[in-house]
Amino acid sequence: MAVLLGLIVSGLLLLFLGENPLTAMAMLFSSLFRDGYTFADIFVKATPLMFTALAFALAFQANLFNIGAQGQFYIGSIVAVSASLLLQDKLPGGLVLIIVAAATILAGGVWGGLIGWLKARFNANEFLVSMMSTYVALNIMNYLLRTWLLESKGEYPQTNPLDKTVWLPIIFPGTRLHSGFILALLTCIGVWILLYKLPLGFRIRAAGQGKDATAMAGINYKTLYIIAFFISGALAALGGFVEVNGAQHMLVQGFNPDVGAAGIGIAILANGNPIGIIFASILFGALKVGGTIMGQLAGIPSSITELMLGSVMVFVILGYFVREKLEENREKAKLKEAVSV
């Protein structure tokens, strides 16, 4: 519903350009299903988003704001591309992928865990620290891209392309849809199990919802802050891994600059539920692919994507308010009825 409103509003804005929003939208939907490649791209786009959304959602369960998923995503990408380039002609591809994934998890985890540690040890504001850490990660990436990781032809701040051997296998031939998508789905389910079926996840949620009671129960919530941030960072970093080894096959400066913010939007749309994140990510993926397609239509600027994302997010938030209000009124009405009987 909120999503629809967002689309309608951004559609109406097209009128300013003298475009017919209806034909544009019709065009958008028809072209989304135009061919398998485009359709599959929705899921390709959704893949890294699931990871960054999970990163935000998981920390949020511990009542922590990990606003730095973008930076953790970059760290993951850097490690993934470096490790892949380093190992691709030394070891078999499958093995390299496993090592790269492990290295990514570790690096993202440490990067995130550091934020958690600052929070636990110094009570630093994790919102601010994680936000700042994104800029730090970005600059590390920029630095490496023009030095150590710079492509051999030395033209553009980007790495050499990866060997085919270390690409994540394509699921459907003729599309870009790679097995990273499956990994993303499994990770969503995994995080759900962690949160709702495992004691550790329980403790993370408990620390988020009542840290004093958690402490009184003998659970060290500060350690949990570190753990939650570690996992959160590792998740976002994995997003970088699947994007690099699955879709990009290299690292380019300024790539995917909005996975972090979109991840937050998705987590909110899904109300923090890992399973909901799957669907919300696909929706965002569709919006992005759709926005790109619209941008291809002559006369419609590419900024339509941000416009759509932004208004959809705002309407989703408004939707939460409306839901709360309805709930409250329903309760009250019930009570009044009970009294008058």
């Binding site: 951004s10 804005l13 300013f16 350009l17 704001f65 606003i67 600052l118 110094f122 630093a124 504001n125 919102f127 601010l128 620290v129 936000m131 700042m132 850490s133 800029y135 730090v136 970005l138 600059n139 590390i140 920029n142 630095y143 030095t147 909005d258 913010a261 937050i264 939007g265 909110i268 600027p301 900024s303 339509i304 994507t305 941000e306 416009l307 759509m308 994302l309 932004g310 208004s311 997010m313 705002v314 989703v316 938030i317 408004l318 939460y320 308010f321 709360e324």
Partner: protein, 304 residues
């Protein structure tokens, strides 16, 4: 050296507009996480208005404030009156602001081949004072928006600590319920500080487009709103604190840039770009006794 310090102050100006208003907003309990978007809207609207009126900067500034306030109203309405998550709302509004100004920039100007330019604000040398050696050229050869801050910082400090308005704002950030019981309109006051942030951040944004550069691009703010946000923390939520914080940041940036532009590369340039952010993290960690308002970021849900 003089040039460096003078630039420190110049480049600190928009940040201080942002951080000063952030002090007020956060003291009242609301984080203005839409700051980046408000800056951008201010920069954009200011430019458009100034350009369309043939370079009238006053109209540009007014438009910037207007756009800032409009954005702030949306943010404040959602977070203060509808009680939704501040951080998340901020993220959404920042994306929306980017969409709006890129989109309408195209709607209004189409695809120009030569840059659209307005004459930016010029420094005004204050007679006599500007002739004082060193200090004169650092402090008294600035533009009007900078001079305005010479007044705004003390006024902001005065209002916060010596007037009933300041007392009320400080109180509702600590304990909104106490404010409510004492007859204050908590939400209204918080909304007021956000409107103030709209005005100030609108000016801050306009500083980049029409105050300093005379141009607009959608990347013109490029994270500087967030720096203003961070400075509020570093300045310990005090007007003079953020003044010092701004100067530190400004100096770090000016130093980084002069290193960078001298072509020396002992340190990678990215280190300098990242320096203010690293500094923020370090200071956030190092500062033990924070003035952080107790109810910062928590909507006041008055029952009943």
């Amino acid at each position: 050296m003089i040039g460096l310090l003078s630039r420190t102050i110049l480049m600190g100006t928009p940040l201080l507009y942002g951080s000063l208003s952030e002090v007020y907003a956060e003291r009242s309990g609301v984080m203005n996480t839409a700051i980046e978007g408000i800056f951008l809207m201010g920069a954009w609207a200011g430019f458009v208005a100034a350009y369309q009126t043939g370079g009238n900067l006053v109209i540009g500034l007014l438009a910037a404030m207007g756009a800032g306030v409009l954005t702030a109203v949306l943010y404040g309405w959602i977070t203060i009156y509808l009680k939704q998550q501040q951080i998340v709302t901020g993220v959404a509004i920042n994306i929306l602001a980017l969409g709006i100004c890129s989109f309408f920039q195209r709607v209004i100007f189409g695809v120009p081949l030569t840059p659209l330019i307005v004459e930016p604000l010029q420094p005004i040398a204050i007679p006599i004072l500007s002739n004082v050696p060193v200090i004169g050229s650092i402090l008294f050869n600035q533009n009007i928006l900078t001079y305005l801050l010479f007044v705004l910082v003390p006024v902001a400090s005065f209002v916060l600590y010596k007037t009933s308005l300041g007392l009320s704002i400080r109180s509702i950030g600590e304990n909104p319920e106490a404010g409510d019981v004492a007859g204050l309109r908590v939400d209204r006051l918080r909304f007021l500080t956000i409107l103030f942030a709209g005005v100030m951040c609108g000016i801050g944004g306009a500083f980049y487009s029409i105050g300093y550069l005379g141009m607009f691009t959608t990347t013109i703010i490029g994270g500087r709103g967030w720096i203003a946000f961070a400075i509020c923390f570093l300045g310990n939520w005090k007007p003079y604190g953020v003044l010092i914080g701004t100067l530190i940041f400004g100096l770090a940036e000016a130093l980084a840039i002069s290193m960078q532009s001298s072509g020396q590369s002992i340190f990678p340039n990215e280190l300098f770009i990242a320096l203010p952010y690293i500094l923020t993290i370090v200071l956030t960690v190092a500062r033990r006794s924070f003035n952080v308002p107790a109810e910062l970021g928590i909507p006041y849900r008055k029952e009943g």
